[in-house]
């Protein structure tokens, strides 16, 4: 590794003030700090910083936490592909098909977003934003595998530009960048991100009989208008039986995530592994993750009691594992920039996300998946929640103080 350091040291003067590539200083800095921990030493006087974990390393932790989801997603895309066309395939074949679909999306998202990022940092003379490491990875994970690549690029550029860079970059944005990308696509090109887009068929048009690619949420939504009075769980079983995959939509299968869906969001198990990494390293807030789950469990329990249609009667535990709830709770809601900052605020914020998710799922036939919009909506109100938590804190302490 010594030679890498040597190269960097040799090139450094060129990128510093009055050097040949002065304008690209931040590009160089990004590369350097990406490879090596910055060699800053805190001043002798004043606050001392012992740990060199900076934003870059923090963001890398999140990316590492997402890797299980990504890897599982790659396999699952391949698996669903062969399932739909009715061929059996080896593990390797599934991985190959999955990689062929997923890796270009990841690549496009990183390239398109990185380009915007570099242009901005060069013109505005600020360091390259580390937050992009995460957004660039999150965006592919919440896209359906069939998404056209140009849309990925467009959405990424839009999100990085409008949702982040105009506010000054990482740490200053209001809405979650990855979610903005998805919501942008959702409203701009709805036909490419809803309906039967969750399985990659390739150029095969011959699907196995009865296969519709319906996700559990879509199956549940068919009962909302009250004409379909079958229990949702039995609908799951029926669907599994029609495609000759017993237990396809069983609780355990959906928990592991061998179901169609966005690339990285299907597996609750992998999300929980990611959550574990985030919590242990202290990067993500366990309060938010937990309260999202509690909120959605609570709300679906309430609707169980109301029970106007079959979808409302779906047992609460199903709601926790179908759709992208786990992924949203672990990777979206915990975004430290857009979430509530105060500790009490985090509980309220997460709880409301959970509640809202279930409400959108049950009442809004237009959007089968609620977590995306619920997180975005609570992003909007996070500063408001914080404000009142801080006010309450002040008031409490003033009351305690005896002057």
């Amino acid at each position: 590794m010594k030679f890498l350091r040597n190269i960097l040291d040799k090139q450094k003067p060129q990128f510093q003030k009055d050097g040949k590539f002065e304008n690209f200083h931040y590009l160089f800095e990004a590369a350097e700090t990406f490879l090596y921990v910055p060699n800053l030493v805190t001043k002798k006087k004043g606050a001392q910083i012992k740990d060199m974990i900076d934003l870059k390393r923090m963001m890398m932790t999140v990316v590492i936490a997402m890797l299980p989801c990504l890897l599982f997603g790659i396999w699952n895309v391949g698996h669903q592909h062969f399932l739909a066309i009715g061929n059996s395939a080896s593990f390797l074949e599934k991985i190959i098909v999955g990689s062929k679909v997923v890796l270009p999306i990841v690549l496009v998202s990183y390239t398109a977003g990185g380009l915007v990022e570099v242009i901005f940092s060069t013109i505005r003379k600020h360091p390259i934003n580390e937050g992009f490491l995460v957004s660039g990875m999150l965006i592919p994970l919440i896209m359906p595998p069939t998404i056209p690549l140009w849309q990925v690029a467009l959405a990424t550029v839009f999100a990085i530009l409008i949702a982040k860079e105009v506010f000054g970059g990482t740490g200053m944005n209001i809405l979650n960048v990855a979610l903005t990308a998805r919501v942008f696509l959702y409203f701009a090109y709805p036909s490419d991100i809803s309906g039967d887009v969750w399985t990659y068929y390739g150029d095969k048009t011959e699907l196995i009989s009865g296969y519709s690619g319906a996700t559990p949420l879509a199956l549940g939504a068919t009962t909302v208008d009250g004409t379909n009075t079958d229990e949702v769980v039995s609908l799951f079983d029926q669907y599994s039986a029609t495609i000759n995959q017993d237990g396809f939509y069983s609780l355990i299968n959906m928990f592991i995530g061998i179901i169609p869906g966005s690339i990285g969001e299907t597996s609750t198990l992998m999300c929980l592994i990611g959550a574990l990494i985030l919590i242990i390293t202290g990067v993500g807030s366990w309060k938010i993750i937990l309260s999202v789950f509690i909120g959605s469990y609570f709300m679906s329990f309430i609707f169980n009691l109301v029970g106007l249609n079959q979808f409302m009667l779906l047992p609460p535990e199903y709601h926790l594992i179908i759709g992208g709830l786990a992924f949203g709770a672990v990777f979206m809601a915990t975004d430290p920039v857009t979430a509530a900052q105060t500790e009490t605020g985090k509980w309220i914020y997460g709880f409301l996300i959970g509640i809202l998710t279930i409400i959108v799922r049950l009442f809004n036939p237009a959007y089968p998946e609620g977590i995306m919009l619920a997180v975005l909506f609570m992003n909007v109100f996070a500063p408001y929640i914080d404000h009142y938590v801080i006010l309450a804190n002040k008031k409490r302490r003033l009351n305690r103080a005896t002057v």
Binding site: R124, G168, G169, V360, F363, P365, L373, Y384
Partner: protein, 205 residues
């Protein structure tokens, strides 16, 4: 009762005055720099809308509507339609009511009065107030529903303005490009917030 709750929820979230109809933008943009002021204005709007909607409903039903004059002056007025006076009457009602609210606030909370400043009289021309009354007529509501609708629309405006104000307070620490500072970024923000509010569009409670 269900209908009323439904109507309130709808007018708060689905038919949000600011993010769906883009009404009341002037005060929404101008008074959202500080949360406390925005809070005051929001509450004033809730108050005014809740009372002007039913007031205007009464005027519409008893005076302006086609044939409404029959009960006072007899059959020959059956064809008289005073709808063309709608705008005029509604604004007059709103203006006098706002004047009244202003006096109340001045009396009971001088600080709030001071911080609202010119914007309280400006509620008179706040399009969301007039919009509330006109929508209420268009939707053909009953008196109770009209009150609920006015209240819901007010709450919707309140939510919109406090959300923006809280965000703008946070935005002080952001490094917005020079050309976008101030209103520019606020317009962009409004667009983004409207995107988030699309959560509820198409929802049927």
């Amino acid at each position: 009762m269900d209908d009323i709750i439904n109507l309130i929820l709808k007018s708060v979230f689905v038919d949000n005055m600011v993010y769906t109809y883009f009404l009341g933008m002037c005060s929404y943009l101008a008074v959202s720099k500080k949360l406390t002021t925005a809070n005051g204005l929001g509450i004033a709007v809730i108050f005014v809308l809740t009372f002007t909607a039913p007031l205007n409903w009464l005027i519409q039903e008893n005076i302006l509507k086609e044939g409404a004059l029959v009960k006072y002056f007899g059959e020959q007025y059956a064809n008289v339609n005073l709808d063309f006076l709608q705008l005029l009457m509604f604004i007059a009602v709103i203006a006098s009511f706002v004047q009244f609210v202003e006096m109340v606030i001045e009396k009971f909370s001088p600080t709030l009065y001071g911080s609202l400043g010119i914007f309280l009289p400006l509620i008179t021309v706040n399009c969301s107030i007039l919009g509330g009354s006109i929508f209420m007529i268009q939707k053909d509501l009953t008196l109770v529903e009209a009150t609920a609708f006015g209240f819901g629309s007010g709450v919707g405006f309140y939510l919109a303005i406090v959300a923006l104000a809280a965000i703008r307070e946070k935005l002080k620490y952001s490094n917005v490009p020079k050309g976008l500072r101030g209103l520019g970024i606020t317009f962009l923000l409004t667009g983004l917030l409207a995107l988030a509010f699309k959560t509820f569009i198409g929802m049927s409670f």
